[in-house]
Amino acid sequence: MTDSTVFEAVRNEIAYAFENTVFFRKHMEDSGLRPEDIKSPEDFLRLPPTSKPHYRRNFPAGVLAKGHTLNSPHVTRFQSSGTSGDRLNSAILAYDLARRQATALGVNHRFDDLWRPGSRPRVCRFAPPNCSDVECATGFSTMEDRTLPDGTLVLTVAHDLLATPEWQVVKALDEIELYQPDLLVVDPTHFAFLTRWARRLGRTITSPRTLHMVCGYTLMTRVARRQIEDFMGPDLPIGDMIGMSELGYLGFECHHGSRHINNQDFYVEFIRDGRPVEAGEMGELYVTTMDDELVPRIRYATGDYFTPLGSTCGCASDLPVVRVEGRDAHMIRLADGRVVTPGAVDAVVGDAPGIDLYKLEQDRTGACAFRYVAGSEARAEDAAALGLRLTRALAPNPLRIEAVDYLAGERSGKFQPCVSHRSADGAR
């Protein structure tokens, strides 16, 4: 699509949202705007962004488009745990999900053979329990109980990942074997945990079909990726998904390892201080849906930060390349004014062969603590070198480094490798 065609689609979406949703009409009118006022991308910036609280409070009556109900055909309802407890109830049309997924996965040729004409991939999910609308945390439910309407089997795992008992791990491994999936949709931290257990139990994770893996839900750390790749081997196509429950696939990792943003199904902006950022600068991702007839979203501030790199990628995809930075509420804010993103922290930590799991936590005073669970290959000199790198990266703020044998997950079941109570307080 040309830029003008894309912007025309955006204008159509604005007009549709204005005409068909109570919330967005009021949102525009409160700013003294009507759809016909938005004639150019510059005009578009006059529209105040929308955000999760708007959609949470107004769901469904204010944001579901006229003519739809939550029981309309192809409507998938969900209740997401959100990040750090910022939960959301929403709905999405199954074919919009599929369209966005197809665009995103299209950047990675290793996923090309996943969808064959006439067949749907068998999907198995191993992710934080609150990310699935089925009871999977207690482990007492059956495979049938945990099979979603689209056929996805949700595997059982405890809310507090590291507290998952052995019998529940064995159950997950057994069910993968039984289900014979084509696609594992996983939280990488969770799946790395499963591989550690599988190794300990002498088990493998395989399928008679060709397995693929999509990683999502939380930042894919290099530490988790290293463990997954080591255990599963080089033949497994792995792709890091950029997504949100309410929108589906916002982007994907190509077969060259770059992250591409889906600007075909969304109009995307990277915004800082109200203005679009230049290539190489970090900005918050705002998305505007295109042709979303159920819950159109205009300038939806995702809370996720990226750096658009402005470069092309050898994979030949036209979708823009970005670097994943992390969520605003997780940014480490230093005394000298610098901000260290979860993505940057992960780059400093690297794939760290001596580490199974880590968490960097900034308290309200600004002090940081880096806690890690050491792996079997841990070496004192590596830990010392990592400590030095982190100290440098986080100076002048104080940093404490601790080896531990347990790290707690969030109540939602997610495990965030980098959190800042200072940023989270500021975000409230």
Binding site: Y16, N20, P53, H54, R56, R57, N58, F59, P60, A61, L64, A65, K66, G67, H68, T69, L70, N71, S72, P73, R77, Q79, R87, L88, N89, E293
Partner: protein
Amino acid sequence: MTVRNTSRDDFPALRREIDGQTICYLDNAATTLKPRSVIRAISEYYESNGANIHRGKHWLSEEASDAYEASRVLIAGHIGAAANEVVLTRNTSEALNLVASGLDLDPDAYIVGALDAHHSQLLPWRRTGRLELTRVDAHGRLDRDHFRELLRGRPKAVALTHCSNVTGVVHPVKELIAEIRSACDATIVLDAAQSLPHQRISVRELDLDFLAFSMHKMLGPTGVGCLYGRSERLAALRPLAVGGGMVDWVDLDGSVDRRTPYKFETGTPAIASVIGCAAAIRYLEALDAGELHQHEQDLCAALVAGALASPGVRLIGPPDQNDRIALASLRLDKGVPTGEVARLLSDSYGFMVRSGHMCSQPLATELAGGEILRVSAYLYNEVSEIERFYQALEELLTWMGPVAAGAR
């Protein structure tokens, strides 16, 4: 309108906004919100004292002990009991477990309960002996003939529930107790967790052996349950736990328990919370009882009328206001997920209501066939909130209904 001397401003949590929307708290059967005086009493203890009770001779310990015991006196007075007849526990469940296990009944002891019991008044007795449950009718009222029939088996204990946390029905316990006394010499244990917040009870008038309730359901802090026991019955009860604070003397050969109620209170208790309970009792007792009753009736009428008038819901419990508290449990039409509705009522409309089996699964299954939505009001709620709740529910259910025409 709320009750005279009660102001919504007394309850800071009612000012809470989520996503810019003021909340409406209608989950009072689970726990009530706390007035500022209770919050202040707790804070003051921590800010100006903070010492442990009963074991020290220093100033702060004496002061804290005095405040703690003064709270016990107030709680006891509220139910017409003597202070040494009130054991402070963690909650109603612990109080009922203390009685069930402390009676030292034979494993096959015959016990009569009721189908509408909370799990806390059901499971301890099921573990203790051979429990038979009195049936209820379609509206949740006790089947009195069945009750009398069960009493003919001469039970060792009768575990009564004063008010069901599912139907809101308040049972005629005075009549039931009279029937028990004339039929057998069973120990009578009343769960008053749902009734006492709504009406005063005199343990003397009721001729009870034991009564259990929780302060957090009547404006008090969480972490404080109460067990009233008639003096001689309490003295004969075996403590649930042993340890520090419940003994007068310990040597290598044995120990001597303290007198009641202290022999049931081992370990450091929830001192601040117990002190906060005094403020809750004072708050409740300062209210005009007549107005409180009328307000309760108005809330109850609005809850029942709203349920009966709402499409897509079935009221679980009597379709009238007689002998019930301001509580309505609703069964939604088949296929409408109760938990999702509760979550949407909360996040989209600001109504905090309960969903599930209400820790009374046998009754919820029997009367409703599964999960229910429970709306429970208290003295700071207003009739207009109940009306708005039903409007919100009706609107929400239309969005969960069949497809409308005209989609793009």
